[in-house]
Each structure stands twice: as structure tokens, then as C-alpha cells.
């Protein structure tokens, strides 16, 4: 492999790419954490749900709607879908062992992946995002407007969610139900519906992440598979029950992996995933619940 020498311009571009990658991981990781926090379930179908809703967006745009017209429609569909999945598929196994629920989400992932292929076929498609593909000059470095847009949208989402959880009654109910379902019921919180709400919100987050990344990597049924793996890594890194952790973990992971892959010749693009794993393992050995997770102390 013949590599070009180091230049600050390229470094800045790689850094920007890393932040953009990280923003996508953060979005999906946030969805994973929301579901985990509210229902204690790891949703392996998160990526496929995102891909499915992105295809719906594509179909809508194919029929003439502009991106911003289709956007709220898709979010509404995603929300409804998330709620419906929770009520129909997850609810019957709510009290089952964790592993059973995990396998159900896996089955869901396979089902959605197959369904996407059946409805839309496996070919790659162009997805026209809301941001232009122009590049602008930021302090001498060409940066894509699209990348900036992706990062801003992600930050915006996180802010909205933070406000929601902190300052609204519904957000409070969600947090209460997650921590202590039984006491929450006593206070009158409809715990079952807060679970469904959590899934709905996560589905919306996934849909946004999908619509942000599709213009860059091209839309196809398997678009989210590798990204989901990185998102899991980011969620674990940041702490499975910390939304802030998911975002920080995502960006940190994206930047570290991109820079390591470019500047540590030995790693190249092949060892990026193992490098991510090592990174997380080291963090977990020091902080077993992730960077921002709360430690479940169980001294034995």
C-alpha cells in the first residue's frame, strides 16, 4: 500500500469525516440506549428498522414529494411502527428471560431485512438528502455541506431528546417506568405504554439516522448492518443506560477509528472493527458500565 504523506488539510478532512461517521453511530446508539433504558432490551433490529423507514422515504420521494415534505410523514410512520412492534411482538415476551427477547429482536431484524428486499429489491439506490453536495471552505479545508448538516441534525436531535426527558411529564414517566416499573404503576403510570413510547422514539431516531446516512453510502437493504455494529460499540462504550454516553461514545468512536485507520498503517481498513473492540474492552475493564453508565454494584 502506497500512502500519501501527512498534510494538515487531509487531517482536517479525515477528522471531519470521522465526526460525521461518529454522528451517525451516535444517532443509532442513542436509539439503542433509549430502548435499553426504557425496556431493558437490546434491540438487534434497530438497524433494519432504520433501513426500512428510509426506503419508505425513498418511495415517497420517488412519487414526487420533496425531502422535507416526506420527512415528517416518515417520522410519523416510524413512530407508529415502533409502537406497534413493541405492542405486538415484544409485549408477549416482556416477562420472558432477556435472551428470549433478544432472539425475538433478531428474528425481527431478519424479517425486516427480508421484507425490504422483497418489496424494493436488492439493488443500490441513490437517495437525495436534504443537504446539497457542495463543498465549502472552512479555514482552507474543503468540507462537505452534507457532513455539516448531518452533524447539526444529530446534535439537534440529542438536544430535543434531552429536553424531552428532563422537562416534560411524559419524559419523566418514561424514566420512572424504566427504573422502577412496579412503583410507577402504583403512581398511575401506564408502564406498558411507556415501553411502547420508548420504542416509538427509538424508531424515529433510527429513521433520521437512516435518512442522514443514505445519501452518503447509497441505499440498499444491508446499508445499516456494519453501522449497527459500530453503534452497539458506541452504546457500550458510552454506557448502555446513558444517552449522553451514546452520543459521546459515537463521536469518539467515529473519530478514533477513522484516524487510526488512516494513520496507523498496520490497522488499515481491515482491522478497524477489532480496534474498536479493543478500545471498548479496555474502557470496560476500567469502567465496567461504560464511560457514563451507572455501575451496578454487586460486590461478592
Amino acid at each position: 500500500m502506497v500512502v500519501a504523506a501527512f498534510t494538515w488539510t487531509e487531517f482536517a478532512q479525515q477528522l471531519a469525516a470521522g465526526i460525521r461517521e461518529g454522528a451517525i453511530y451516535a444517532g443509532l446508539a442513542l436509539a439503542i440506549v433509549i430502548i435499553y433504558r426504557s425496556t431493558r432490551v437490546i434491540n438487534f433490529a434497530q438497524g433494519e428498522m432504520a433501513t426500512f423507514t428510509t426506503f419508505i422515504a425513498w418511495s415517497l420521494m420517488n412519487h414526487g414529494l420533496s425531502f422535507w415534505t416526506a420527512f415528517p410523514i416518515v417520522l410519523a410512520i416510524a413512530f407508529t411502527g415502533g409502537v406497534a412492534i413493541e405492542r405486538i411482538v415484544i409485549r408477549p415476551v416482556e416477562d420472558a428471560p432477556v435472551l428470549t427477547i433478544v432472539i425475538v429482536t433478531l428474528g425481527l431484524a431478519l424479517l425486516l431485512n427480508g421484507l425490504t428486499s422483497v418489496i424494493w429489491g436488492g439493488a443500490n439506490r441513490q437517495f437525495h438528502g436534504p443537504f446539497s453536495t457542495r463543498t465549502i471552505d472552512v479555514a482552507g479545508v474543503p468540507v462537505s455541506v452534507q457532513d455539516i448538516g448531518i452533524v447539526l441534525v444529530s446534535i439537534g436531535l440529542v438536544a430535543v431528546l434531552a429536553l424531552f426527558f428532563r422537562f416534560t411529564k411524559v419524559g419523566l414517566a418514561l424514566r420512572a417506568a424504566a427504573v422502577n416499573p412496579d412503583s410507577s404503576r402504583l403512581v398511575g403510570i401506564r408502564v406498558g405504554w411507556t415501553f411502547a413510547l420508548g420504542w416509538g422514539i427509538a424508531a424515529v431516531l433510527g429513521a433520521v439516522a437512516g435518512m442522514m446516512i443514505a445519501p452518503v453510502v447509497f441505499l440498499d437493504p444491508n446499508m445499516m448492518q456494519t453501522i449497527l455494529l459500530y453503534a452497539f460499540a458506541a452504546a457500550v462504550l458510552g454506557g448502555l443506560d446513558s444517552p449522553l454516553g451514546a452520543v459521546v461514545g459515537g463521536i469518539l468512536l467515529g473519530v478514533t477509528i477513522t484516524l487510526l485507520g488512516r494513520y496507523v498503517g498496520f490497522l488499515g481498513s481491515t482491522l478497524k472493527l477489532p480496534a474498536a473492540l479493543m478500545l471498548i474492552l479496555i474502557v470496560l475493564l476500567v469502567r465496567p458500565s461504560g464511560l457514563f453508565g451507572r455501575v451496578a454494584v454487586r460486590r461478592v
Partner: protein
Amino acid sequence: MGGRIIFACAIVAAVAATSAGARPSATPGVSATEIHLGSSVPLSGEAAIAGNVARGIDAYFKYVNDKGGVFGRKLTLTYLDDGYDPGRAVNNTIRLIQQEQVLAVFSSLGTSNNLAVRKLLNDAKVPQLYVSSGATTFGRDYKKYPWTIGYIPPYSEEGELYGRYVVKNVKKPKIAVLYQNDDYGRDLLAGLKRGLGARAKSIVASVGYDPTSADVQPQVTQLKASKANVLMVFAFGKFSLQAFNAVSRLAWKPQIFVNDVSSASALMAIVPQKAANGSISIVFGKDPAAPLWRNDKGIKLFQSILKKYGSSVNSRDLQDGYFTAGMATAYTMVDTLRKAGKNLTRQSVMNAATHLNEKGNPFVLPGIVIRTTPSSRFPLTQVRLQRWSNNSWHPFGKLISAKP
């Protein structure tokens, strides 16, 4: 506990009952009325679009059957999905030989896939015909693997053609290469270096990517930083698309060469055209989407066969070059079976395949002669260069040789 054992035995008995033990015959896959061939192709996953090759073959076989088949025998193709995964290709091929008992395995797709099954096919003395991969080894290593023969022009020769073109036509070339980090990509790169000859130092940057990458923009960013004015895209499927996307977003304008396998019109049409225009590739088949062949008899035949005999075919498929490539291979296969004679054995098929002299395959460029000898096992060795503009490919220049 006893009940569960009985239940288990019942299942086992059912399994035993449903295994049809195939009757061994003189030549597997051949009966008085049927010739049974097998193939392992990607029908799902990253490379699913390339699986259309098998669907093209299937349609062509049905057409031939309607006209009486080969010496009265109808052709059947059993094609199994391997998702472009060599491990599954191995399983499929074992199933094709041991359960389906096919005469030969042909047009299986993928360099690694075909490498994985080559030994077991040769050990079982089953012909591995018209491999859908341009790795040179399939045509070159016949002494060790006498039952194997390739089909499409070898990748390393393709790379060499690009190298020679650059030397002749690009002033002060500085070449950047994006390649898939496996045998397929590296074959192309090695050929390129050979074609550049003394000017091999014009390669200023080359970066491999792993097929498990999510996106190749970081690699393209790195290549741009080398200030190259020529870019070789030796990629596959969605990675080619991402490469063009990245080139466009980085506002880079090199002369792009894209390798044949990634050059399908369907793919080129959806990338940013600013980046795609001017790209150069090679071609050996007639591209149904190219305006040049709109009124061509061969393409008209192709479309009528696909409409009548294709399964689950839509209007986009009529312009899909993978289907045409499939029919081209099928045409050669039928030609081979006819040459192998009425007394059809695996050996006679192999003899026919290594003595081809086929002119007039309606699905490849006019003037191409598909020729093989036992020691020269590269059926397709003639190509033309083509350039992308106005949303389609335009061949230019004469037929050139891509013979190793």
C-alpha cells in the same frame, strides 16, 4: 423422557424418508431427455445484482428447449444462492454434485467462490466451466486443475490495458488506485503495473479497502491528497458508487478508469454524473442500455427471450447487462454441449470446452471469436474500450486483445 425419545425417533424417521437417494447413472446429469447443469451465484446480499447472470442463462435455456433442446435433451439449470460467500458456495457445490447429481457446474460467480470449490470439483472430476471471474489462475493453471476453464477477460489483462492507455494518452500521469483488498482487486492492480511498464512509478498512491467497510470516503480522501490526476476504481458494487460519490463531494476531477465488473450502466447512471462523465472502462458484451445497440438483432433477440421466458422480469431488467452476459455464457454452453456430441460424458464436455471456435455469439461485440485450446483456456480475450457520457457507455476504437 420416553415420550421425547419417541418424538425424536419419529423426526429422524421422517428425515430418512424424505431423503431421495439419487440413483447413480452412467453419466450423472444426463438422461435420454434431460441435461442437468448447476451453478452457485449470489441472489442475495451485496452482489445480488450479479445474480441476474443466472436468470439470463435460465431464460436462454428455456428458449433453446422450446426449439428442441440439444439433441432432443432439455436443458435444466439448478442455481443456488450463495450470497457471494465462498463457504456457502462450497456447500452449494457439494449439494449440486452429491444431491442434484449435475453433469457440470458452470458460470458460478466470484473469484474466491470459484477458488474455494476448484479442488473439490477437480477431485470429483466434475467440469467447472466458464467461471464468472476474471482471475488469471482459472485459465492458466490447467495442468493442476484440468477440469476448470474461465470465461470473461482476465482482470490482470484488463489492468494492463488501462496501464497502456495511460502511457499512450495521458501526459504526466499521476495515478491513484482504489482497490478491493482481495485477489480480485489485487489482480487488477498487478496488471496495471505491468501495463505501465517503465512508468510504474506514476502510481503515487494506492489504497485497499476491506469489503466489510461501511464507506470508502476516507480512502478516497487519502487518494485525493496525493494530487493524482488519474484514478483507478478497482472496486465492486456499492463501493464503486461510494467512490464516485466521494470524488464528487471532494470536488476532485481526475481521469477515472472503472473496472468492467463495476461498470454496469444501472450503477453508473445513479452516481453524480459530473464525476462519472469521461470515465473509461472495457467491454466485451453488448450493453442493452447503450444506444449503440438499440436496433441490434442480438439485443432484440435478448429482449424477446427475456420477456417470454424470464421469471419475475420487469422492464428495468431488459436493460440490464448482467442478463445479457448470462445469455452470452449460455450460448457458449449450448455450443459446447452440441460439440460434445450425442454421447454425452463429462470428458466429452471438457473436450468440447477446450476446443471452442465460436463466432457469431449474438450477445457479445461483433467480431469477437470465442476460441480455446487445451493449453489456452481464456475464451473471451477481445475487448473494446468505452467511455461514459450522456448517461450511457460509448465504445471507441477497435477490438483489442486482452490475451495473457
